[in-house]
């Protein structure tokens, strides 16, 4: 059962366009939306949250589009951005009041419980919060109500490692019942890589790779060695060769491992490494 369906979505701006993004995210899974700054990650997420309207294509969240039922669509999404979005002179109390009145499923007791757990003061203005506290407040306001899809736009940027680990746990708890899903965008994947089920990688507004993370990791090898050890046949298969003074590094599809000689070193890559070499390949 799909929770998020992005169907042939395009978005055209004067100097940038997002072309034909098409994927589904089943219930109970986490997708990492990866790419460089300016690749179109935020644009895609803004289309999903309906901050922007698609030029072409449709987006379904839990089976409904924003056109068929805008209110329910918005209610089913929880959004956490890299920038804090509550007005700076709001207090936690103000936010609670507004959310309680606008979201039928908002639970004050759940919200208060999270605030207590994370030691967020009710009386402080949110502009005096630290970055970590702001992220936690956004999480509290989203987790205190019924949502189906969590959209995180670079939400872990600038967080200290301890809070990042907390966020990972939160996301895993969120999807634990198998009914809800998470899509997050990031340009530094390392910390979120472990928990992501699927990876969607875009560059310059277009899809580059899309697969289950485990598949991606298995489908590629990171090859290192000297250029002279590379046969012409292997040369053709290598993706994104990066040279340095003493050798090179590149990605190779695992099925062509037969082309490797004992002179070359190979190991399993990280998603970041796959991404780096793919981007290098496209330049």
């Amino acid at each position: 059962m799909e929770l998020l369906e992005v169907r042939n979505v395009s978005k055209h701006y004067k100097n940038f366009s997002l072309e034909n993004i098409d994927f589904v995210l089943p219930k109970g899974y986490i997708m990492g939306y990866v790419g460089q700054n300016g690749a179109g990650k935020s644009t895609t997420l803004n289309l999903i949250t309906n901050l922007c309207k698609c030029s072409e294509g449709e987006i379904y969240v839990d089976g409904i589009t924003c056109i068929s039922d805008a209110i329910r669509y918005k209610e089913s999404i929880g959004y956490i951005g890299d920038e804090f979005y509550y007005p700076p002179n709001f207090t936690v109390r103000n936010i609670r009041g507004i959310l309680k009145n606008l979201y039928p499923t908002f639970s004050v007791s759940k919200f208060d419980e999270l605030l207590r757990e994370w030691k967020l003061s009710e009386k402080m203005k949110v502009k005096d919060f630290s970055r970590g506290m702001k992220v936690k407040l956004m999480f509290a306001s989203v987790l205190a109500r019924d949502t189906k899809l969590l959209v995180l736009d670079e939400a872990t940027n600038g967080l200290d490692p301890v809070v990042r680990v907390d966020v990972l746990k939160l996301l895993q708890e969120y999807i634990a019942d198998g009914e809800r899903s998470v899509i997050f965008s990031t340009h530094i994947l390392s910390d979120l890589e472990q928990i992501a089920d699927y990876i969607y990688f875009i560059h310059d507004g277009r899809k580059v790779l899309h697969d289950a993370k485990d598949e991606l990791l298995e489908n590629y090898l990171l090859v290192k060695g000297e250029r002279r050890a590379v046969s012409p046949q292997l040369q053709k298969e290598l993706i994104g060769i990066i040279d340095n003074a003493y050798g090179f590094e590149a990605i190779l599809p695992s099925e062509r491992a037969d082309l490797l000689t004992s002179e070359l070193h190979f190991e399993k890559p990280t998603i970041d490494e796959i991404v780096v070499h793919y981007i290098k390949n496209m330049e």
Partner: protein
């Protein structure tokens, strides 16, 4: 009733300014009382309160940073509800200012001892309120035409002009009426018994224009894209 929530958000966002407006009025009042006692104090005070409302009712546009606008857009409500909320904010802001103005008027009359008959002052206030509403609607339409995120840049310009036009315009009218008593008297005689009617009519017309402006803004914003 989701629109009310947006009104509430605007009020929380701008509450410092509201306090400020409430504080400034008595100060100005005192200042004016000392200046002269023969000008129609009460009317000046009322107009001044409305002038402040006109200027400050656009503050929510100014504090709309990119991500804050995003927050408003993410809330589960339609564009119409969101914009109605903003218009409702402007209207309630002006009602508050008018109430402060009325209190000021009474104070002014008490201190200066000059009492203007209710038959004249009530319709005058109604017309002034109506004119302010139309001006405010105009401001909002311009701000929405430029877009919710662009508005901070042009806000400082837009927020001042209609307010000043209104304040100095009405001051000029009051002054003119005093300078040329014959014309005023003739005019008054002409509209004589219909003062209240004029008051009501202008208020009604203002409400219609106000609502129309809100609808226009909704239509414009619906087509717009964020970001």
């Amino acid at each position: 009733m989701r629109a009310i929530q947006f009104t509430k958000i605007d009020f929380i966002k701008t509450k410092q300014q509201i306090l400020w407006i409430l504080l400034v009025i008595p100060v100005v009042l005192l200042f004016m009382l000392r200046q002269s006692s023969d000008s129609p104090m009460a009317l000046v005070i009322f107009c001044y309160a409305l002038f402040m409302a006109l200027v400050f009712s656009t503050t929510p546009f100014g504090s709309c940073q990119w991500q804050e606008t995003g927050f408003l857009l993410l809330l589960p409500a339609t564009t119409r509800e969101r914009i109605s909320g903003r218009f409702l904010y402007g209207l309630s802001f002006m009602v508050i200012a008018a109430l402060v103005g009325v209190v000021g008027m009474y104070l002014g009359e008490m201190i200066s001892g000059t009492v203007i008959e209710a038959e004249i002052i009530v319709p005058f206030c109604m017309v002034a309120f109506a004119v302010c509403m139309v001006l405010m609607a105009l401001e909002y339409v311009i701000l929405y035409l430029f877009g919710e995120q662009q508005s901070p840049n042009i806000l400082s310009l837009i927020r001042m002009i209609p307010g000043f036009v209104f304040f100095f315009g009405s001051m000029g009218l009051i002054g003119g009426a005093q300078e040329d008593p014959e014309v005023t008297a003739a005019f008054m005689e002409y509209i004589g018994g219909h003062l209240m009617l004029i008051g009501w009519c202008s208020l009604a017309a203002a409400f219609v224009l106000f609502a129309a402006a809100a609808m226009l803004c909704t239509a414009v914003t619906k087509k717009r894209d964020f970001g």
